[in-house]
Each structure stands twice: as C-alpha cells, then as structure tokens.
C-alpha cells in the first residue's frame, strides 16, 4: 500500500491533522480578534472530512492490512467516524460564539480537532497498541478541554478529577492489554489474538486471561462511565464548559464503545457467558443508578450527566446479548445518543450564554429554575430542548425511540426478559425528570417576560442536532441498514 493510497483512505484524518497543526501554528501569530477565523477553519476542516466520509462511499468497503494490520476501514469504523465528526462539528459551531473573545481559542480548536482524530483512530484501530494511542490522544485532549475555563474553579476541579481517574483507568487498560500481548505470545492485532485464543481457549480461561479481561473491561468502563467507574462523570460534565460536556458525553464516551465492540470479541470466544454475567450486573447497576440519581438533580448539566450514565447502561446491554441485531441497535443508539446529548448540552450552553450576557454575575445558569417559562422567552430553544429530552426518554418519532426499540427488542429476542423489563422500567422512570424540564419550560411562568435572543451559531448547532434526531426518528431505514452493515463487520 502506497502513501497515496493511505492518504486517500484516511483523508479525513489527514485533513484534520493538518488543520489541527495549522490552527495551532497560525494562532501563534494572531491577536484575539483575528483568532476567530481559526474556529471557522476548524469547522470547515470538519465539514470537509464529513463530506469525504459521506460521499466517498468508503462506508461499504472493507479494507484491512493498512499500516501493518493496525488500521481498518469498514462500515463500523466509518459509522463511528461520521458520528464523531458530526459531534465535533456541532460542538465547534456552538463554540464559535462562546469563545469568540477568548485569548486561547486557537488551542481550544486544536484540542478539539486532535481529540476527534484520536477518536477516529480508535474507530479504525484493529491493533491494541494503535487503539491505545488513539485512546490516549483523545483522552489527553479532553483532559485539557475539561479545564479550559481556567478561571473557573469548578472547571479546574472537573479537569483534575477527570484526569486522575482517567489516568488510573488508562493504567488499568494498558495493563490489561499488555496481558493480552503477553498471553498471546506477542500479538497485537485483535483478530490474530482472537484466533490464537480460539485455538488455545485454556489461556483466556486461566487466571491471567481473566485478569486481562477484567482490567480491559474496567478501562473501557471508565470511558463509558459505567457504574462504578462513572464517579468522575457527573462532576466533570457539570464542571466542564458545557459544549465540552457535549463532546465528552457524545464523542469520547462513544469511542470507548467502538473500542469495546472490537476488543471484547476476544472475550467472546471462551468466556462469553461470564462476560455476559458481568455486563448484566454492570448494565443494571448503571441504568438504575443513573436514572434514580438523575431524579433529584436540580442542575440540568448534572441531570444530563446522570442520564448519560443511564444511557450507557442501556447500550452496554449489547455485551450481554452480542447478537447482530443487538449490535445494530447499539451502533444506532450510539449515533442517536450522540445527536440527542450533543443537542441537549448545547441547548443548555446556549441558555447559559444568554443568561450570562444578561447578567454577568449570574450563578448556576443551568439550574432548573432558569428554565421556567423558557417556552415564552425563547420558543425555538425550548422546543428543541423538548425534542432532545423526549428523544432521550425514547418517545417517537425521534431517534431515541427507534434505537431504543431495536436494542430492547433484540435483547428480548436474546432471551433476557428481566433485563428488558428493568430497562423499560428505567425508561419510564427517566421520563419523570425529562418531563419535569418540559413542565418548567412550558407550564411555569417565566421569571422575566423579556425575550432571549439566541445567537446564530448556537441556533445552527442546535438545528443540526435536531435534524439528526428527527431524521433518524422519521426515516430510520437507511440508518438502520447502515448500522446493520456496521454490526455485520464483527461477524457475530
């Protein structure tokens, strides 16, 4: 494979890399006002990368053996890359307004682009070393982004907590991967490791093998924010700049899922039942705790954080069943959730921005009380928040309903009736706190009758997410088909 081939296959990543470096270097010589252009540069590079993925039609290819068998291009990777790109794009667009007077906005966009590249590498990686590198690239960028509001103690706290727990989890993951490497006699390619273990099933069933899987699950569990590895998530999502919370919840969390989809296949060979048992426990714990604690949250960001935890619980049911249908549902859920969560967080960010502009010393701008009467003060914002929340609750005709339906149905078909019942009860529970926000927005009287003017950048970002949520909800078939072909890659 030549360099030209490589560049053409990985054109989105290459473009983003060049854009990231360019933003960083150009930013050195510019003043704060001039740096605004860099945000547009970042957005354009993301748009170009997205268009390449959509229109080059690479999503039906299946190429392996790229870079010494460390990368692949298949429907799964392209599906996730598209998700990451769109999430980053929406986040960047929303940030255009938020940080247009920030002296370090060039670094901000560089970090977002680098984080996106990291996620995309993970989506393509079929080699544990490459995967880990991508993982760390995304993690390090987001550590810094979480603390981007340097003056804000809660942002710093969010970053430090995220970093410490993240470092611990990275260690666990790396430790687990190194066990795999050692046990397989020096293999790093996931497919080869799986083949090797399928010929020698005793190895993965040995204490060493078990320990490797334990550590890997724990490492991924951190990024997916599964209970009990979720502890960082509420604090970080709440403290970080809200647009970054969107990136964390919709982007880097989903990266862990795609990595887990590929790596846990190894475990499927010999200890499928036991892994299923682990994930039954983790999924139930995660969705129940996430939903129950979300009930009593007054801060919308924190509520969304817990709801994000709960959603991860739903998605992780796929590891219990591991059927092609369930994988389809999970893959689709990832994309749907990316849109709904990004949209929800950005809508909250937009409200925060507007409230701060009104009153510079406003505190707790994401408090539920600030949403009272929003339907009158900013109809579009309130309407889109309502759609996002209903999508998160799984009400048709939104993306949330479609993906939840497929996922739950496939789990039911897999024979785990009790799991589905718990999941549905949880969904019903979640409706309470989502509907409460809607009630605040539309039923309660506003604190002031003044209209809030929504900046164009935010409207555009919210509109994009809204289109995503409704498109998947109303015309689900192309998305389901794509998700199905992505799921087929794993050869379950």
């Amino acid at each position: 494979m030549s360099i030209v081939d490589f560049i053409s296959q990985f054109a989105p990543e290459v473009i983003l890399t060049i854009a990231a470096l360019a933003v960083m270097i150009i930013g050195l010589g510019l003043g704060t006002k001039e740096k605004r252009a860099l945000g547009y540069l970042a957005a354009i590079s993301l748009i170009v990368a997205t268009l390449i993925i959509v229109f080059r039609g690479t999503y039906h290819l299946q190429l392996e053996g790229i870079m010494a068998d460390s990368l692949t291009i298949d429907p799964m990777s392209q599906f996730f890359k598209l998700t990451f790109l769109l999430v980053s794009l929406i986040v960047v667009i929303a940030s255009l307004k938020q940080y247009d007077n920030h002296s370090n906005q060039d670094e901000y966009y560089t970090l977002i682009l680098l984080g996106t590249i990291g996620m995309m590498v993970v989506a393509s990686a079929i080699d544990i070393v490459t995967m880990f590198i991508g993982f760390e690239l995304a993690s390090l960028s987001t550590y810094a982004l979480a603390g981007f509001n340097k003056k804000d103690p809660s942002s710093m706290e969010a970053a430090i907590k995220y970093f410490i727990v993240g470092a611990l989890s990275s260690t666990l993951l790396l430790f687990g991967l190194s066990y795999l490497y050692g046990l397989s006699g020096g293999l790093t390619n996931i497919g080869e490791i799986a083949d090797y273990f399928s010929m020698n099933p005793g190895i993965i069933q040995s204490p060493m093998g078990i320990m490797a899987m334990v550590l890997i699950v724990a490492g991924f569990g951190f990024k997916m924010a599964l209970v009990p590895f979720h502890m960082w998530a509420p604090d970080t999502y709440q403290g970080s700049p809200t647009v970054i919370s969107a990136l964390l919840a919709a982007g880097s969390k989903k990266m862990a899922f795609v990595a887990a989809f590929r790596v846990l296949l190894i475990a499927m060979i010999a200890i499928k039942v036991d892994i299923a048992m682990v994930f039954i426990i983790l999924a139930i714990l995660t969705m129940t705790l996430g939903n129950v604690v979300a009930l009593s949250q007054k801060s919308l960001k924190r509520m969304l954080a817990y709801s994000s935890v709960a959603q991860a619980g739903y998605i992780s049911m796929v590891f219990v069943v591991m059927s092609p249908e369930a994988m389809t549902g999970a893959v689709l859920y990832v994309m749907s959730h990316a849109f709904m969560k990004t949209g929800a967080f950005i809508a909250v960010a937009a409200l925060g921005y507007m409230l701060l502009r009104e009153n510079i010393s406003a505190k707790d701008v994401d408090h539920l009380d600030n949403f009272a009467g929003l339907g009158k003060r900013s109809p579009f914002l309130a309407f889109s928040i309502m759609i996002f929340l209903f999508a998160l609750a799984g009400i048709p005709p939104t993306a949330g309903f479609v993906s939840k339906f497929i996922l739950f149905y496939s789990v039911l078909k897999g024979g785990f009736v009790f799991l589905v019942i718990i999941a549905i009860l949880n969904s019903a529970l979640s409706l309470y706190y989502y509907a409460r926000v809607v009630k605040y927005m539309y039923v309660l009287p506003p604190s002031s009758s003044e209209k809030l003017a929504l900046p164009g950048a935010y409207s555009l970002a919210i509109l994009l997410a809204l289109i995503g949520v409704l498109a998947i909800g109303i015309v689900p078939e192309p998305f389901v088909n794509w998700a199905a072909s992505a799921a087929n890659v794993l050869g379950l």
Partner: protein, 163 residues
C-alpha cells in the same frame, strides 16, 4: 513503495525486545496449559528483586555503627548548613522545563527502534533511493511534528526562564 509488513514487526520489534525469550515462550504455549510455567523466570526475578533489598538492609543494620547526635538528623546539603524552611515556593516553570525535556528525550529515543526498521527496510532490501521509503517518510513527518511542537512552545515563551 511498501509499508512495513507484519513480518517486519515480528522480525524487528519483537526480536529486538525479546531476543531469545520469545521463542521459549511460544514453544511452551504450544502445550496448551502450564501458562504459569512461562512466567517462572519472571517469578524468580520478582523473588530476587524482593529478597535482595531485604537482605542488604538486614546486613547494613547488623554491620554499620550507630550514632544518634542531632547533626545526624539534619538534612544533608553537601556539607553546608541548611537554612530556612524546606517548604518554599519555587518557580513552576521548572516543571514545564522538565516535562519538555522528558518529552523531547523520549521522542529522541524513538529514533532508535526506527533505525532498526530503517535498516531492514532500506539497507537490507537494497532500496536504491532511500527517500522513497515509507519509514523515512514517516520519521520525517514525525520530526516535523516535533519541530512544530518546539516552535509552539518557543513562541509561547516557555523556554524563557523568567518572564
């Protein structure tokens, strides 16, 4: 131009790191069970590693003379008398400096394994024009990125000791 294949990795990376140990490992694993066997060398190493410090500390305690004057408990400062508190503020730039040093050091270190690949890729295969080799391209790219990083921190003024 060819990307380095998996064989190249096996030949270079792994043999480089595991020169002989690797072959015994794979040989044993063929026996399906007895995975622990392959880690016997590690276990022996671990035991020795734990035992030797203990033994030495024990020996030191037995053999060395003891004196308990107050001077004994002062901080050792190469012979000069320590002054002031040990809890002082010192410039954070030191850390930035140290981290950057480690960063570039590690990046430099990365050149070493690259050389072994380069030898395999270019010298052993008798490639006429070494600039067309992917390994050369990759390393050149890597160096450019490192240089950009250097440029960045330079412009940011990190390399200036006191601003």
């Amino acid at each position: 131009m060819v990307l380095f294949s998996h064989n190249a990795i096996e030949n270079d990376f792994i043999t480089f790191l595991y020169i002989e140990y690797n072959s015994t490992l794979i040989g044993h694993l063929g026996d399906d069970m007895e995975i622990i066997d392959t880690f016997i060398p590690v276990a022996i190493f671990l035991l020795f590693g734990l035992a030797i410090p203990l033994v030495i500390m024990f020996l030191v305690k037995q053999l060395s003379p003891r004196s308990k004057s107050p001077v004994k408990f002062t901080t050792y400062e190469s012979g000069s008398v320590p002054t002031g508190s040990s809890k002082i503020m010192f410039n954070v730039e030191y850390y930035a400096y140290a981290i950057l040093f480690v960063l570039f050091d590690v990046e430099l270190l990365f050149l070493y394994p690259w050389v072994t690949v380069y030898v395999n890729d270019v010298v052993l295969n008798n490639v006429e024009n070494f600039t067309t080799s992917f390994s050369v391209f990759a390393m050149a790219l890597f160096m450019v990125v490192v240089l950009l990083g250097l440029l960045y921190e330079w412009k940011k003024g990190v390399l200036q000791w006191v601003k």
